[in-house]
Structures are given as C-alpha cells and as structure tokens.
C-alpha cells in the first residue's frame, strides 16, 4: 500500500491545481480542500515509522522516508491542513476562488513533501515549492497591504532560499552524498563548517522567524486569509525548524559558539517579539509575534542541542513535541481570529472558552498539551544536565518566555474582543475550527509523540507551581497595564522592515532624482562626425581624380615598379 499512498500523498495536492483550468470548477475545488491531506494523514497515522521509498529517477535520485521525528511533523501538518482546509471551504468567497485553491494545493504538496523527503534535492524542491506557492496565499486578498506583505515575504524568501541552496550545495559536496542523513556528520567535519552552518541557519531561519529574519511574519500572517495564516503559522514555520533538525550537526560535535548564538537569538525572539507583539493593533499580528516568540523558545532548545551533543538526543524529541503542541494550538488561535461571535449568550461563552483554551495551553495551562511541552522543555534544559556557559540563564529565560506567551495571548483576546462581529458562522468554518481545537486539546494526547520519561497528563503539584507562577505573573501584569495605560503604544507590524523600507525609498528617490545625463540634441552633430564627413569628401574627390588621371597614375606605377 505504501508505494501507492506515499506518492499519492504528495501528488494529490500537487495535481489539484490542474482542476483550476477547468471552468466552473470552483465549487468542486472548494470542497476538495479538506480532502487533500487525507492520504498523508493516513500515512502518518497508519504506517509505522522506518519505511523508505526509493525513487531513483527523481532529481538526483530520490529517497522518501519516515522516521519518528518526521512522523510527528507529518501528523501535525496533515491534521492542521485538513482542518484548515475544512475551515477554508466555508471561509472563502467567490473571488479568485480557483486561484486560491490552486496555491493551497501547491503549498500543501510542498509542505508534506519536504517532511517525507530523505534526499536533499527533493527536500529542497518541496521546500521551495512551499515557499513560493505560499506567496499566492499571502497576497490572495489583493489589497495594497497584502501586496506589500507579499513583496517583503518574497524578497526574504528568495534570500533565504539562496542561503539555503548555498548551504546545501556546500554540505552535499562535503558529504559526497545526496542524502539528508549524511549531512550532519559531514558538516561537523567540514572545512568550511562555520560558513555552512551560517548559511543553513540563515536559510531555514527565514522560515522559522529567527530575529532579524522574521520581518515577513507579522506582515504576511495578518493579511493572508485566516485558514492560510493558520497553516503558515502552525505548519509552515515548522518546516524551517525541521530543516534545522535534519541538517545541523546536533548530535555530532559540540558547537558552543553557535549554540550560544542560537540561545541568544532565541531569547531575543521570545522576549523581544512579545514586547513588540503586545503593542500590535491587529489580532493576527499579535499571533504572528506570538509565533516568533514561541519559535524563539524552540530556538533556545536548538541552541542548547547544538552546544551540547550529549544532550541533543534528549532535546530533539522535545522539540518535536513542542512543535506539535504549538502548531495545533496556534492553528486553533489563528482560526478563531476569523470567527464571528454568535449572539446567543451561552453559545458565546462556550465559544470564548474554546477560543481561550488553546491560548492558555500555549502558556502552559495544566492538563493541556502546553503543560506537557513546557515541562518537557524544562526538564530537557535542566541546568544540571548541561555543560555550557549560559546554562544558568536558561530557566529564567524560559519563565520569561512563558510570561510573554500569556501576555500575548491576553493581548490577542483583547484585540479580538474589540473587533468581533456578531453573525452566524458558516458551518464548515465552525467545524474546521472546532476540529482544530479538539485535536489540540484532546487529540494531542493520542498522538505518537514518543518521549522517554514524558511528563504525564497529570502534572505533579510542584510542577503545577512551576507552570502556574508565570501565568499568574502575566495576569497581574496585564491587569496593571490595562489599568494604568489604557492606550497601548502602537508599533507597526513588521517592526524593523518599516525602517528599512523608509531608508530604501529615500535612497531610491535620491537615485531617481539624480541629474540625468545631458543628451545630445538632434541635428547638432559632435565634431568628430564633421571630421568624418570631411574625410569622406576628401576621399570622394580622390576617387574622381583616379578617374581623370589614369595615364599619369599608370606612368607613376611603371616608374615605381621599374625602380623597385
């Protein structure tokens, strides 16, 4: 079954866009959306990890496979895309429907494919497919903001792709192999190790929202249609993370400098993003910053794994778990951003509760996926197990991150609350959202996030406190802020890029206004032209002389010849 199902998992969404060529296929496509990831979901659920599928003709020789880590990611991706697809089926309206569906299919194919790819070429192919196709989702609305966001997304994506390509080429050459699994050991030994690492971290970092590479995130997420934002933030960000996990030499050699850099970057992301995020006016922008912040936490873990190869095998599954948790929760939150609040009071309360729960899960509410993830993280990063410089800083960082998380969630709820409309929801929208929330809250526990000594569903009391105090702090902080400063300062979404844009435009106008070269006016020929004309006249006069003075010339020639 596998040789059929696995290609089908990628090919079905990949060929879905072909439907768009058929006129009046919009309706079919719309309801096809949630069906697209089903083969992949089946693969993720039913097939045990460990299979490989060889496709020797593909690119430089393709190998697709599934291992534990990939399975988690595949599951997350397939689930989220399914529910988001359901949501989208109800959310979309007629304009450019087919176009949206086409890009949806392409992006999905890329996202699924890159997870299962075992060779570099397929991995990079699917990665690029996802990157570029996602542009279609980002700018779907066609508003000026969307186009601007799309432009920035595209520029950064292209730069990221290039860095990635360079890194992959270098490391592939070092490894003398086209397989992803051969890369980490090769990089660890490579002559240009630091260059390769820099390129790979940057390349995937664009997708994963590393600080200074994150600019596109808060711009693109709010403008994209809500289901697209959900998959962007829930699933596609994780592709960058997966890339790191697959290529960086995590368990090979100790890279304390790189580890420190990553930890710093993660810290900056988790706290800085929160600070900027609470100053956002748009619900989805807040969520986008929240994603950056969460990815920052993951980056810290990654940094630790980079620095400490002994600990890496423990940390990597935790990262997988955290990604799964965050993807589902963030997906639910994003989807909730597009909901209308029903007028009925009980329904309204229920809805708000369901909106809030995944948010609280993010912050580590006990009995949710968040609690498991946070605890697992804390355990993995326990300072006593680590051997690296800034280990003492880790615990406070994580706590600060947790506070930041909840603050962002609260800010999101606040902004959402101010902007909600009262209207009935489309049934598919409601179902899609509900399904996500349910998977996030309940389905999570059934998922195969195999973790050695995983924290249980029921945290122990001291763990409760560990989880609880940052949340309480955050609540207090939020309350104080809302009392003392009713108007929050506003930071434009995309922070740094706005400055860059201004700078660029001022330079641009400067260049454009630079005095243009004076042009030669017509008729006024430069002097060398006159010279040429004069020469021509002389030559033509000479030609006439040749005609007249044949005899004399002849005589001269005779003389010359006889003299010589």
């Amino acid at each position: 079954m596998m040789p059929v199902l696995v290609p089908a998992a990628v090919l079905l969404p990949l060929l879905f866009p072909a439907l768009a060529l058929v006129p009046d296929s919009g309706r079919i496509m719309r309801y096809g959306l949630p069906l697209l990831p089903l083969p992949a979901l089946t693969v993720a659920l039913l097939s045990g990890p460990g299979w490989t599928l060889e496709l020797p003709y593909l690119l430089n020789g393709g190998v697709w496979l599934l291992d534990e880590l990939r399975r988690v990611f595949l599951l997350l991706t397939a689930c989220l895309w399914t529910t988001a697809g359901l949501y989208a089926a109800g959310y979309l309206h007629g304009e450019h429907l087919r176009r949206f569906c086409a890009f949806w299919g392409l992006t999905l194919a890329g996202n699924l494919g890159l997870i299962m790819a075992g060779d570099i070429a397929s991995f990079y192919s699917f990665f690029a497919l996802m990157t570029f196709a996602a542009y279609g989702l980002v700018v779907h609305e066609g508003s000026p903001q969307a186009l601007r966001a799309g432009r920035i997304y595209l520029v950064m994506a292209v730069l990221g792709e290039m860095a990635l390509l360079a890194g992959l080429i270098f490391s592939a050459s070092e490894a003398q192999s086209g397989m992803l699994q051969d890369l980490p050991p090769a990089i660890a030994e490579a002559e240009h190790r630091d260059l390769i690492l820099g390129l790979l971290i940057t390349g995937f970092g664009v997708k994963a929202g590393l600080p200074l590479l994150h600019f596109w995130l808060p711009l693109a997420h709010p403008v994209a249609p809500t289901p697209a934002s959900a998959v962007l933030s829930g699933a596609m960000i994780k592709a960058g993370l997966l890339g790191w996990l697959l290529t960086l030499p995590l368990a090979e050699t100790a890279l304390p400098q790189w580890g420190t850099v990553m930890i710093m970057a993660g810290a900056l992301a988790s706290i800085g993003a929160a600070l900027i995020g609470v100053c956002q006016q748009q619900a989805k922008a807040v969520l986008a910053y929240s994603s950056i912040s969460q990815m920052g936490l993951i980056t810290i873990m990654l940094g630790v794994a980079l620095a400490d190869p002994e600990r890496a095998p423990v940390i990597i599954p935790v990262i997988g778990l955290y990604a799964l948790h965050h993807g589902l929760a963030k997906g639910s939150l994003f989807l909730s951003a597009g909901l209308s609040i029903p007028a009925h009071k009980q329904e309204r309360w229920l809805m708000w509760a369901l909106i809030t729960l995944p948010g609280l899960a993010l912050a580590g509410l006990p009995f949710t996926s968040g609690a498991v993830a946070k605890l697992a993280m804390k355990e993995a990063l326990a300072p006593e197990a680590l051997e690296l410089g800034p280990r003492a800083l880790l615990a406070p960082l994580i706590s600060a991150g947790a506070i930041a998380t909840l603050l962002l969630v609260l800010r999101y709820l606040w902004v959402l609350h101010k902007h909600t409309r009262t209207a009935p929801n489309h049934r598919a929208v409601l179902m899609g959202w509900l399904a996500t929330v349910l998977i996030s809250l309940l389905g999570f526990w059934l998922m195969p996030w195999n973790l050695a000594n995983a924290p249980g569903f029921l945290p122990s009391p001291y763990e409760l406190w560990k989880l609880g105090w940052p949340m309480l702090t955050a609540l207090v902080l939020a309350w104080m802020v809302s009392r003392s400063a009713p108007g929050t300062p506003s930071v434009p979404a995309g922070d740094g890029i706005v400055l860059i844009e201004r700078l660029a435009s001022s330079i641009g106008t400067g260049v454009l206004r630079a005095p243009t070269r004076p042009r030669m006016t017509r008729g006024q020929k430069p002097s060398y032209m006159n010279l040429f004309g004069r020469l021509r006249e002389i030559l033509e006069a000479k030609e006439r002389q040749f005609r007249q003075g044949m005899g004399l010339t002849m005589l001269l020639l005779v003389l010359l010849l006889s003299l010589l």
Partner: protein, 107 residues
C-alpha cells in the same frame, strides 16, 4: 651605337612624346593621335631592339604587321565612338564627367 639601337631610342622617344600627349591633351582626337604615336614608337623599339646581328629576324616583322592591324582596328573603333559621342553631346573631351552620379544608361 648601332643604327638599330638608334631606331630603338627613337622609338622610345616617340613613346615618351606620345605618352605626354596622351596624358596632357584633352581633345579626344588628339588623344587618339597620341596613342598612335605611342604605337609607332613601340613598333620601332620592337624592330630596332630585335636585330641581334645574325641578320634580319622575320619574327618582329610579323609582329609589327599584326600590331599595325590591331592598332588600326582600335583607331577605327575609337573614331566611331568619338564621332557618335560628339554627335550626342557636342563635346570633344571627356571633361563633363558626371556618369557616377547621373542617370543610368537606358536599359
């Protein structure tokens, strides 16, 4: 200085005079006459230089005879052309040369 060499030098002199005339004169008939002068000079050179002391050589005689025939033919052709040219244009010389920029011949 044998007599034959004298002939040859005289021939060379005639050639020189003819050449001068051919270059210097404008009137077509005069040019033609100058040409005939060169021709005569050449024949003199031919006959004069060829006497190698072993008695008369028949070859130059034959050559000169042929040469005279050729030059008569050429002169005749030239006269026909000059006459017709004069009839058509009224000029006796080739001064008014505008053939490269003027009308092409009637095809």
């Amino acid at each position: 200085m044998t007599p034959s060499l004298l002939y040859a030098f005289a021939g060379a002199g005639l050639c020189g005079i003819g050449m001068f005339g051919f270059i210097q004169l404008r009137h077509l008939l005069r040019k033609l006459l100058a040409f005939n002068l060169i021709g005569s000079g050449t024949f003199l050179v031919l006959v004069g230089l060829a006497q190698h002391g072993q008695g008369p050589d028949a070859v130059p005689q034959a050559l000169v005879l042929t040469g005279i025939v050729v030059s008569i033919a050429a002169t005749a052709l030239a006269i026909v052309l000059i006459r017709r040219y004069f009839h058509l244009s009224g000029h006796t010389s080739l001064e008014a040369d505008d053939s490269d920029s003027g009308q092409g011949g009637a095809e």
